[in-house]
Subunit: 404 residues, 2 copies
């Protein structure tokens, strides 16, 4: 019997307890021993809950119990998640967490402590919910030099953009709907401003390169400026707009960003809709792979945590090499990255195209009926180039990066 | 320095040597030691090739060299792959193979021998080429009860079907094109008759259930009867036809089959085109995940072999639990599986629909211009039901299983 403790009995934490119970047999077979949840740490009581008798309010009970070989952190946030995880590792306990904020902020230190204490610090569930992506990066893709990771990493924003795309909704309506369905928080900034995606692409980039990534260095733009009008143009062009977290790694240079990107139907991420996530990984030998699935949700995310539990307990006395070192990776400035641009401009196309082409060079023009504006698609240029050129044009209403 | 031997210096074997050389640094970092190809076993000589001096013609050189800790089998076929792999494992060497025929036919025995001799027998490249799917099944999805695996597992047939779909080509033209491009063999039966897909879904089913699967028990139907006319109807309906290998596992009952299936645009495998493969895995907690990528090709497949090399050499003294036991899984008869059916019938819809509905029950009728036939989509029924009913109707020209 292996004893573990779950810290935080919210959605994910209770999901972990549920998955461990419902798939008890196969998990015991994989681990080679039964897995028992000895403690559940939470400030609240849960009368009537099956975990009622396991609830403790004091972390030190878990920390000091040497029979507990692994701790699951599903509290979220940095405090007290960070000190509790750190103390657990230092007490020689494995840790699995679903907490991307923790991993993005303190991953390097926690990985180091895990190594020193010959235990494991796993975080599959911190990116892509139930989609296996962290583990493939250090196992199945172990022999690859990763050249690109681009993902739709946030289910809330993907749900909103999908509603805007397929149902013609405004951002505000789609957001409200997402909130009513429980997909979006009352304070949705972490999602819609791209901060959640930013932490996730930082973690993936660190996994892919083996070096620490400071997520604050990644250019991050959310979806709040994307409008239903943009999607009317997108529809006319057969394109869509998705919030990408992306890293492109070449010759030691890393370009990383979070931003809405307009893509065409043949992009592998085009058909990743609703709350689903999709993560595209390009390796130098492998070419392009894509992983697709439920990016959030109680049981899928819990299932990813359980995969961590199984790997840690199978490697009970063994630190599995994964993660990254403390060498800080330089992220190139956003203005050196190149895109095409979808630009909406006030006025009538016929009258202004010459002027626009004098500034941007050759463009494709897109017009909708009954509008006092038109749109153009530029050729590929750097962000810096775009900014300099765009200043020369009056009446620019929108600019979305495009890749198709 | 870890010494390995590569058996078979064809496309995949030379790809493995190339990946090991080109990604030498990252591979050494992952393994914790340099990996050296000491021997390449092949009947031919390769004058001028970088591997020229490593070529041996006699397997016993490899078998007897105790410094060789791992053998890579990329010869294909059963003989001499089977005796060589068996002897390698018995000599205490890890083995990785890309050979699905070998794994489907002798996997159970080779897994047992590997366990007895405390070495590893890995075969990531045997299914899905470069797509990580075997490894996720025993790592990332380790805690899941797998309920379904459905895949587009053969690049050749997917290329042919894509050409028929998008370019309106006949089967024969598309096959010839695939042969000219080197995607299809001169004798394409293993691909177009579904045998390759059958072995792959057998391996995936065994991985998912933990029990041996006899691939000969899996109903297998290829794509040779699919015509350009079928795709004209599919186009009119917004559907496509894909060759599926599929297992659906419920309450200990396993339904498995290989057959062309008509699917709609919202099926996650709909947009898997050309030589790409896609594999959908449904877990009881996780819901649906999909893995997508290059299902074949020299470097992607070699990259999957290299992932096996890394895992085996990292676990040099350790047998990694994976695979299946010798308990033979019962595959339910095809006639108990349920589908909808796309059926093309001679005659004029208006005149025959009543008769057709008297037999099949409610149907959707699809008509194309200038045809002496029409098509219907039935409701869901078992294969057995369909066969009994279809006998009552004259003039049935085509029957394709449908899921949408």
């Amino acid at each position: 019997m292996r004893h573990i403790a779950v810290m935080g009995y919210g959605t994910i934490g209770s999901g972990v307890v549920e998955v461990l119970e419902r798939n008890k047999e196969i998990i015991a077979k994989r681990v080679g021993d039964e897995v028992d949840v000895k403690y559940v740490l939470d400030l609240r009581e849960f009368p009537g809950d099956p975990a009622e008798d396991k609830i403790v309010h004091d972390f030190s009970v878990i920390e000091k119990d040497q029979s507990v070989s692994m701790v699951i952190e599903t509290m979220g946030g940095l405090n007290p998640a960070y000190p509790f995880v750190k103390a657990s590792l230092m007490a020689g306990k494995h840790v699995a967490t679903s907490n991307k904020a923790l991993v993005a902020a303190y991953g390097t230190e926690l990985l180091e402590i895990a190594k020193e204490h010959n235990v494991n610090f796993f975080f599959e569930a911190s990116v892509g919910g139930g989609i296996p992506v962290i583990r493939p990066l250090y196992t199945a893709l172990a022999g690859e030099v990763v050249e690109e990771i681009t993902g739709i990493l946030n289910g809330t924003t993907n749900y909103i953009l999908t509603k805007m795309d397929k149902a013609g909704e405004t951002f505000e309506t789609a957001l409200r709907e997402a909130q009513e369905l429980g997909y979006a928080e009352r304070n949705p900034e972490a999602d819609v401003d791209g901060h959640d995606t930013c932490r996730k692409i930082a973690i993936l980039t660190a996994m892919a390169t083996g070096h620490e990534v400071n997520y604050e260095h990644i250019y991050t733009e959310g979806i709040t400026k994307i409008t239903d009008v943009d999607f009317r143009y997108a529809d006319a062009m057969g394109t869509s707009v998705k919030l990408f977290g992306s890293s492109r790694i070449q010759d030691g240079t890393v370009h990383a960003f979070v931003a809405p990107v307009m893509i065409g139907k043949d992009h592998p991420l085009y058909s990743v809709n609703d709350v689903y996530n999709g993560i595209l990984v390009k390796g130098n030998m492998l070419g392009t792979s894509m992983f697709y699935g439920c990016g959030a949700g109680k049981l899928p995310t819990a299932s990813a945590v359980v995969a961590d539990i199984i790997e840690a307990l199978k490697n009970q006395d063994h630190h599995v090499e994964m993660g990254w070192d403390s060498e800080n990776l330089t992220i190139s400035a956003m203005n050196s990255i190149s895109f095409r641009y979808f630009v909406r401009i006030k006025g009538i196309a016929d009258k202004r195209v010459k002027e626009v082409e004098a500034v941007f060079g050759k463009v494709e023009v897109v017009e909708l009926d009954h509008m006092d504006e038109f749109a153009v698609l530029t050729e590929t240029m750097t962000e810096e180039d775009y900014e300099i050129k765009a200043k020369k044009l009056s009446g620019i209403r929108q600019r979305i990066r495009a890749e198709f």
